[in-house]
Symmetry: D2
Subunit: 293 residues, 4 copies
């Protein structure tokens, strides 16, 4: 079995790493704040004192951090020198293609493979090993890492060259932002018009304007006022900005993607760093003076 | 059985009227251009020489026109005087709440009921009698017309007072516009990034940004380049403008809904009056210099 | 000299009325809250106990209220019956063309003229009688009221039929909103880039992107952090929404005007009812975490 | 007198270079297409066969190209090796700060100074030597180049470190785009409402929504239908995209700047590469079906 180093044990990363341990790989974990790593002692994983120690002699390195800049920072903090030829770094961060391409170039100089491999499916998907994994990179690097990726991913899609995984993930997030915000505008306006949100969703979800947001997020999280904190709004805003940068760099006039990025950024500032992404609708509610309930 | 007058035999209206005839109602039809009405001779329906003649002595009048202004025009062209107390007018036009409320008020003075009852489900839903019907108005008026509505509708939802059906329909259409346009921006940018649309949709549709547009419209109509003409873009633009007027009138800050309305209006001008609503993506493609294929 | 009734003694209305009194007209004033009317005792004006009393036997009625709906309310509260044939109502409210046209129609039935005549120039312009007055209506009605209008206006422009004055005023306000907000985005971003606002404005105001906002409002009100409260943001938001409704009704795709209206509406909710229109930049500053200073 | 190399003899660059020659500097010019360089023979300038030949032994190098990427390309095509310690490169391109900072870093390694120095004032300003020059870089580099800059610039402003000149220029351009497009939406809607553009501008330019666009560009270029081609729309779109990238990178929620960039990009695609920036209003006119005249 391969030896796997896992860097970044956040809300998604921790259950992914646990799946890797459960699949029988030799696992070495590291996290910036030590407590989250310490919790892995009982899985049989080695708790590495530094990221560089974690990656030394690993076959596959998995990173799952907040941003591509964080990944580059970790590389610059000693990891790069600890890598050896033949390794593959699978970056599950929701990253940006420009940085990923630069990282891939830097790693290629050491004969280390790079696969951007952001995931979709949330905490539940990570725990159950049913994540969708969108991969960018060389076929051979993906194949070498595939057994590890299969420990946490169910649908593993090779999207294109390095950066393609990031690009697809970013576009998904921008569409998530658009549908959350758009459905929020609609339901708040309907509530003010005297249409109950339950009725509105019943109709929308039997009609052409439906989306994952209207079919799942609003019934489960907004109408219940539960707003569970599963994915931070500030990260959705970051992802939407990556999407907006991609559409602009590709010269695709993209007023909606741009506006979605701006609205998420505003909402993240309004609601603070702990807010969940679905709480963005609270900003619309506040501006409108009406709650969706 | 009730006698039904049906005014407006367009792409959706014609199959709806056929369902009413098939359900055994005595049907009288009228259409502004006579040919479309003449085609009903074989259904056993009476072809009325004027809208006023169609409605005289009917129990239920169904209108299915392009805009609320068209409905008001028909009323002013002799229909109003031909109505009698106790009738119900079921307006299946995708109308606007302000006009619908004014029409309801005018009809109430003649003791005629008004139900705004826009539908969703397309030509196929109309032919199969599986439309979703979103009703606004008094419970008693809806009940009186319910047997007729059931001839073409499967999911019949009472959304609220007069105008509520229009409001819900308009919001659905704005969300349809948002998801078509947003998915279009995403797929064009991904295509330029080297990600094939099939791959992109495979991932999106297994992820959180999915919508009816990404799950059905893009695979069936865009990737195939079929772009069947089932619902005109200019009508979607009109609906999105109604949605945008509602959110503004309700004082809901709604930048996305407003922008969706503007983009559809632009696209409708770019592509001309015959363009289907999904062809809006062709405008993004033209601006970006790349096709989704 | 004509007898003038003046309804609405707000921040702009009061000095306008004072100019009319000073010009020698017989003046009768009314205000919803009595104190503001009582302050006119020393000008020689008659303080009317009701709006209806104020207008009775006047030659020209001037209204200067917050919205066209307020004007219609006052008419419905007894003023309409107190008007007599031959009078002219000069409405200096920043109104909306749709309501103005309806009011003109209702007044025409009594043979009373209507001129929409919103003003520009602020409190200072009102005090000095140098307002710009944008008139919509019949030439003859404007001519009959001209001596009164000249008491407070310097540039008096006949823009077109009833509603044209409102339309021009609304468009000016939308452009004011656009330039305040756009200049705010620019200066906040430049401040974060290390360019001082003084330097940025020095260059902008010698370049092609300059506007009244950059040339006057920012140097006098923002860089000084004075933010004097001369015109409420909530009224600018209302005006911008009127502009956005006009462009939509005229079928002019107008993404910028629509967005300006939404942003002002958001900002007015964020900052509360007392905020000045220039304080809108504080919302950008708050979202960006940096002040323009 | 210093020896000056001038690279890029476009619409603005050519008259700037002519001013430098007229001020007595020893001038060597180069242009990608030779004809534009050949025209300089009569000024006494040396026509260099390559950019590298032009810069060799110069004291100050001035670049005036379309984009920062073009400047980097020229450096990579042999110019970098031809530079010598102590030189200053004054880049009058409307560039982007990210590339400018990279270029400055590359040149610093050779002990060559870099000043980003985009200009404002158009062809006329270049011919008359009255350009506004917004400089980013070290004080000492600016001082060394100041005599050359003074040959074509009247207002020379040190905005901040390298990139600051680009940033201020980009923001000016975004505001120019916003005011052209916003004024266009307003005048088209007013024209459809029956208000003549002359009347509308007369009022706007005496009111708070006025800008350089409404005061100068519309009267001189739009109402006359002259639309002289002085500055390409595609370049304005590029500049507005730079501005939008800066506001995003600085985390300033900036919906208007983003939208301005998208609209210009759309319009540039609609109108083709030769269109002047003010012709953007023709897109609004086309979409609205009405001309401003």
């Amino acid at each position: 079995m391969q030896t796997v180093a896992f860097l970044g044990l956040g809300a998604i990363g921790a259950p992914m790493a646990r799946r890797i341990a459960a699949a029988g790989f030799t696992l070495r974990v590291w996290n910036r704040t030590h407590e989250r790593a310490a919790a892995f002692a009982k899985t049989g994983a080695t708790i590495a004192p530094s990221a560089a120690d974690a990656v030394r002699d690993a076959d596959v390195v998995v990173t799952c951090l907040s941003t591509s800049a964080d990944v580059e920072q970790v590389l610059d903090d000693g990891v790069l020198e600890a890598l050896r030829a033949g390794m593959v770094l699978v970056d599950c961060t929701s990253g940006d293609p420009v940085t990923s391409r630069r990282l891939a170039g830097r790693l290629a100089a050491w004969d280390v493979g790079f696969v951007d491999a952001p995931v979709s499916g949330g905490v539940k998907g990570a725990e159950e090993g049913t994540l969708t994994v969108m991969c960018g990179g060389d076929e051979q690097h993906i194949e070498r890492a595939r057994p590890v990726i299969e420990a946490f991913g169910k649908k593993i899609v090779h999207c294109g060259p390095v950066g393609a995984g990031d690009a697809v993930k970013a576009m998904n997030q921008a569409l998530l932002a658009l549908t959350i915000w758009g459905t929020g505008e609609a339901l708040v306006a309907l509530a003010k018009s005297g249409v109950s949100p339950e009725t509105a969703l019943e109709v929308l979800n039997a009609s052409s304007g439906r989306s994952n947001a209207s079919m799942n997020l609003f019934p489960e999280r907004v109408l219940t006022r539960a707003f569970p904190r599963t994915f931070r709004l500030s990260l959705l805003a970051k992802d939407a900005r990556i999407a907006a940068d991609i559409t602009r760099a590709e010269r695709v006039p993209s007023p909606l993607t741009q506006l979605a990025a701006e609205l998420c950024t505003m909402a993240a500032r309004e609601l603070g760093d702990e807010a969940d992404h679905v709480e963005a609708v609270k900003v619309i509610e506040r501006w409108a003076g009406t709650e969706i309930r």
